[in-house]
Homo-oligomer: 337 residues x 3
């Protein structure tokens, strides 16, 4: 696959500077660009690389233009242009309709003839697989679950009974949708299981990372809205509700009945307690702990980054004395009056 | 499935108030109850919903009774009654004995005729599957492993060789029992693997959530006692021992040789260091870090919840100065004498 | 399998004290040693057990020798000797070459005749499996992936297309290698996926724990060098690079483009932010948060261990006042002048 720079400018809407005939065959990293490649520079900090890269063209913002003597595409957000070009040059593989003779499909499952079902996939009774959907080896689709059009399940994904996935989703390997939520009540001398009667409903254009698990609702459903992007190793509890275009980075965990608004950004390793509500447009720094609902958009944090271990030991000793230290300040102030 | 309210009172031991002929067909959430449903109210905070719900009956505590003009079941713990009714109205599916022609079972494996073994399950030599056990597609039972009576393995669960599961367990998809513990010793210029010679032994009435992993012991076994409930994405290290009726919430991690007592409650994201011992009846708040053994029952915590990011930046700067701040307090006190 | 103590001394290079004819059949824990077993004592703290163990021989350091009246092997590092003996007495199972009739292997995949491929393994087009490799049931090897010699994949492991594993690796169940990295750019009203064009390249002698996921690079590859040991439930992001002989304990997570040096030790639950570089020989205590690059070898920490919950509540209140407390100290100091 190869394009001229002017073709790329036209397709992406970026402004062309320099020779439009420059031929681009691949994308590269700014530090490793070579002949035939296009790279992007995110901000002025990396401007110096413009001098040294062997890439044939660059994607930059307008303010970098004067430091650049290469053919260039200029845009407000070079990463967006870069991503579009990367996709043009590396189109997702076309789905070739196929049902592996080694797939095991219930007679009353409804598999669209344009779907691709690979070896050792198991599709149970009443399940439906939409047009253009692609299920890699080892996926299990339980009873009455529904997979939307053009949705891609990588290997060894499990979709629990009655759960539904919309269109154009990507689920990476090891994802588990629709395990029981964690619900038990203590009764005299042991726990009684609270039946988990809901399902999981996932919208369109959702991506879910490797080994993430999303539990079914206890009563009512767990809901992931359109455009949500969820990374690896994440847990969503029963009856969570994630608003559209929210992103959640690796190893974050939501307890049960959490409601997260639209366009939120959760960093990695964020923990949200039961029954919390977070409004739209909230940014949570990595390793945030959310124990109370958040009603105002904005950025929140609670993480302590590492210091040298000896220094940390001294700080930690003081943290434990903190209440006493505060009282000693108070005492000094009173004396001082 | 439908019951009268008086039948439900009798079965659950709750006190009936109002018409015992009220017909109940399903459970619902207090905010979504409709004709034919029963809902519960956990505490007085939600009493207002008693006026607005369309549910046919409610489960409440005695103190809410005067605010209620609907048919009601009264009990000390409405959730327990609710769970029992939910289970009555939504009984777990009966296990229909079956061996899928697409399962792969070693000749010398011992599968009880009342078990259900689905497609693409692999059962290796010497393994045994108890009466009424149910293995969903993609499960792998390695050599000499044993699955107890009425134990349910959801799809894609792996049980390592020689590991044993008791009766009435539920293991959700993606669970891995019996991977090697993390044991290496540095020898001159690289690590030598410490052979992991033990197994995992899991008692009865245990539930284990999606994508959780429990490692085999190094010498001796990793043990999970009866009635333990373990959530998703949890790691238990080699030679851990979890006492009966303890619950562990999502994404908690226990390092090696950790011993946790009976009836403990670990919140989500708790981390316990190597060789720690935690006594019975300990409650650990979410995101607790346990670096020393806990000898007294009670509740422990160490989590810092989020604040607005700018405020957190100022606090963090002060945390780093904490040792110096303490010294300045000391200096002021000395001057002050 | 049984050896005399003098045979074991010779094989491991330890010094023999006492009867070399002592027969050793198994390894045991110091607290459970019995006739025919050998145990090790790590340090003087456990010397007392030397009197009570029923083990036939012990492995100790020289300084413990005078407290010991049993046949003994003496070495600087008893654990290394112990691990070698444990491996001698419990050799890893030999790989018996076999291709299960229930494996599904593409015609143009290249499987070495000495490999073992079990039931429900799927090997796609162009993939290669090296000599002595062993793939347990349910593993999926996608297109053009390569598995090195004597590498062991436990059940239900997924290797993404074009990813490569070196020799003598061990991957535990549920591992996912080569899922897409988490890359999206916001464009007007939704996220655009950044194509993840790289692969994962894993060296030799690497071990990876259950349910860990290692994402493919966005541009260029994610790299794990020789001798790295990775525990369970870990996430490595796109373009991470882990230097040789580094160990990473359970539930740690590296965001994208993280570079970790050689011989580092990451405790459990460590979180490293995007684009961080950590030099060689760094030790990170459990639950460390790394938000800035680390240029000096040494130990770092930021974890707060639990205290009793009421006490923590008071400390937490003070943490939130910390900036104000510091200002009050400042005010006192000024008054004091």
């Amino acid at each position: 696959m190869r394009y001229t720079l002017s073709e790329l400018a036209e397709t992406t809407g970026a402004c062309l500077h320099g020779s439009g005939d420059t031929v681009i065959e691949k994308v590269a990293d700014i530090t490793s660009g070579e002949q035939g490649s296009i790279v992007f520079v995110l901000n002025k900090k990396y401007t110096k690389h413009l001098k040294t890269t062997d890439a044939s063209a660059v994607i930059i913002t307008e303010e970098m233009l004067q430091a650049c003597d290469k053919p260039a595409l200029v845009a407000d957000n070079p990463r967006v242009v870069f991503s579009k070009i990367a996709l043009l040059l590396n189109p997702l593989p076309t789905v070739e309709p196929w049902i592996s003779p080694h797939a095991v499909i219930a007679e009353d499952a409804d598999v669209d003839p344009s779907a691709r079902i690979e070896a050792c996939v198991v599709i149970q009774s009443g399940a439906s697989i939409g047009p253009g959907a692609w299920l890699s080896p080892g996926c299990v689709i339980e009873k009455n679950a529904a997979i939307g059009a053009n949705t891609r399940l990588f290997a060894n994904v499990t979709i629990g009974d009655n759960c539904t996935l919309g269109d154009n989703n990507i689920l990476h390997s090891g994802v588990v949708i629709g395990a029981d939520g964690f619900g038990f009540v203590w009764d005299q001398d042991s726990y009684v299981k609270v039946p988990q009667l809901g399902t999981v409903r996932i919208g369109n254009d959702v991506e879910i990372g490797a080994n993430t698990s999303i539990d079914r609702g206890a009563i009512g459903d767990t809901i992931v809205e359109d455009g949500v992007k969820i990374d690896n190793q994440i847990q969503l509890g029963h009856n969570d509700h994630v608003g559209e275009h929210t992103t959640i980075s690796g190893q974050s965990g939501l307890a049960g009945s959490v409601k997260i608004g639209k366009r939120c950004i959760l960093g990695g390793g964020v923990a949200v307690s039961d029954n919390i509500e977070i409004t739209d447009n909230v940014i949570l720094a990595g390793r945030s702990n959310v124990a109370n609902s958040i009603k105002e958009p904005g950025m929140y944090a609670s993480v302590i980054p590492v210091v040298e271990a000896g220094k940390w030991r001294r700080i930690l000793a003081r943290i434990k004395q903190l209440d006493e230290l505060a009282k000693r300040i108070k005492a000094l102030e009173l004396k001082d009056k």
